[in-house]
């Protein structure tokens, strides 16, 4: 089992803490001149997304996490798994609902995503920052209603529901920011 000692610590290093894969987000050395060194470290738990902090005596070591990140393309969903492919190598990965998480709302064939794998298995999917999706259902807006405030719900081709301006109609293709889940503009 590979391990890192505190001298290896730097932002982005992937380690196992309490059984979960974590990434270092901050590493601060605390050391009196001729005294013992300590590292105050902040981590992001890659499984739960939560941040945690822990301090290590500098003689300690932690287990390395086998984490890989790949650019992948979304292929299709077979009802149980979401299937992705690495465009360079044609390697395919099947990710379950937990790994896909919220990204499921935005996935359309060929969407360019980032997949994090832990010990070779999909851990999480990040969709592209912006996606273009067609409105499949929304109530008609009033004729001539172009710049008024107010919004209405719309359902997109992936099944996601977003708030849209009143002038949006069924069939419109919208640009959505996946990080906020908000309408940006018509595509």
């Amino acid at each position: 089992m590979a391990s890192y000692n505190t001298n290896d610590f730097k932002n982005g290093l992937k380690v196992i803490l309490d059984g979960d894969p974590c990434s270092i987000t901050e590493n601060i050395l605390v050391k009196p001149g001729k005294g013992q060194a300590f590292n105050r470290v902040k981590f992001k738990n890659l499984k739960t997304g939560r941040t945690l902090e822990r301090t290590f005596k500098s003689t300690e070591s932690v287990e390395a996490a086998d984490i890989e990140e790949h650019d992948v393309e979304y292929l299709y969903n077979d009802g149980e798994f979401w299937h992705f492919m690495e465009p360079e190598s044609y390697n395919q990965h099947a990710a379950g609902a937990i790994a896909v998480g919220d990204a499921a709302k935005w996935l359309k064939a060929q969407a360019a995503c980032v997949m994090v794998l832990w010990n070779g298995a999909p851990l999480s999917i990040t969709p592209p920052n912006f996606v273009e999706l067609e409105v499949t259902q929304t109530d008609p807006g009033l004729k001539g209603d172009t710049a008024q405030g107010g919004s209405k719900p719309a359902v997109l081709e992936t099944g996601a529901e977003v708030k849209v301006p009143l002038f949006i109609e069924q069939g419109d293709v919208l640009k959505i920011d996946t990080r906020t889940g908000e309408y940006v503009s018509r595509a």
Binding site: N7, N27, I28, L29, V30, K31, P32, G33, K34, G35, Q36, A37, F38, R54, T55, F56, K57, S58, T59, E60
Partner: protein, 332 residues
């Protein structure tokens, strides 16, 4: 052409900080010149290293010859300057680079600048007076200075006497004040009490001092004597004639009444290597030239090493050492 201000070929220090460093160096040289203290230049390479287990030296072997010798980059100019003192005995200072591997952080860069000076004939408190004068000269309008014994600082802020405390006492103190206990600090008392004291010093005692002024802590535990003489403190305890200067929590300087007894110095070096061996650390070559110089005889003196990058951080109001370094460790 776009200007990428984060491009790694660029300095991280601003031009203002770079010019402030130049002015600071000029002011320091004027200070010592007025006082008749001689400026020295000694080698950065040495065949002997600092033995302390908490210091890690860079080493280099020179290549392409039939015998390879380990050469170390100095963690401070101390050994060479003491050889000068044994030969000529004059008060002297040096401004030079020093190197400590594995020390990288908001206040640390593995390559850094020390101002180190030695005063034959001055006692510890007289040297502190001179340090205050130097800082007042450089900072122009600095905050006040307080002197506190290491024991009093712990007693006042943490409620126990560090000279008699055990690892268990320290652990109890950490629990009492809700101080996080680092991974690696054992429950069973096997962790050295000095590791506990270092942790409590940085996490509880220093933050408990006035943050907007300077504090000298003096008379360290005898187990943290490094290259300092031992003496009796006011309470009759044997302590190290060692002091440190802090601005709030920021450590600025470390000073000693310098140890002159060769046998005691050799014994400390050998003890350090034994501790290194126990810890699974590399052993280092002991500096035999220093020991020979001590055997010849070094005048009674006090000395201090002051971190100039840290002093510059105060002068510039910098929160991170990168703001005062031209090219920190990730840009060389």
């Amino acid at each position: 052409m776009t200007i990428d201000r984060n491009a790694k070929w660029r300095p991280t220090a601003s031009l203002k900080a770079i010019k402030t460093r130049a002015r600071m160096l000029k002011s320091i040289r004027a200070f010592f010149d007025e006082r008749g203290v001689l400026e020295l230049e000694t080698p950065l390479f040495a065949t002997g290293a600092a033995t302390e287990p908490n210091l890690s030296s860079f080493c280099s072997g020179y290549p392409a010859t039939s015998t390879q010798q380990t050469l170390y980059l100095n963690t401070s100019p101390e050994f060479a300057m003491k050889r000068f003192l044994a030969a000529y005995g004059e008060p002297a200072y040096q401004i030079c680079k020093s190197f400590r591997a594995d020390e990288l952080g908001p206040n640390h860069n593995p390559e850094f600048t020390l101002l180190e000076w030695y005063r034959p004939g001055l006692c510890m408190f007289e040297l502190m007076d001179e340090i205050e004068q130097l800082i007042m000269r450089v900072l122009q309008n600095p905050a006040g200075f307080t002197r506190l014994s290491y024991a009093d600082a712990f007693i006042q802020v943490a409620g126990f006497d560090p000279h008699v405390a055990t690892a268990a006492d320290c652990r109890r103190c950490a629990r009492k004040f809700g101080i996080e206990i680092p991974v690696g600090m054992a429950d069973d008392g096997s962790t050295d009490v000095n590791d506990w004291l270092d942790w409590l010093l940085t996490q509880h005692v220093l933050p408990g001092l006035r943050q907007d002024s300077f504090t000298f802590l003096h008379d360290f535990p005898r187990t943290q004597s490094s290259l300092a003489e031992l003496h009796q403190d006011e309470g009759g305890r044997t302590v190290a004639a060692r002091f440190e200067l802090y601005y709030g929590e920021l450590e600025l300087a470390n000073g000693f009444v310098e140890l002159r007894d060769t046998d005691e110095q050799r014994a400390r070096f050998e003890h350090d290597n034994k501790v290194r061996s126990r810890n699974g650390q590399v052993l280092v070559q002991i500096d035999d030239y220093l020991l020979a110089a001590l055997r010849h005889g070094m005048p009674a003196c006090t000395g201090v090493a002051l971190g100039l990058d840290r002093l510059l951080m105060l002068l510039c109001g910098a929160a991170d050492i990168r703001e005062v370094l031209m090219f920190p460790w990730d840009r060389i």
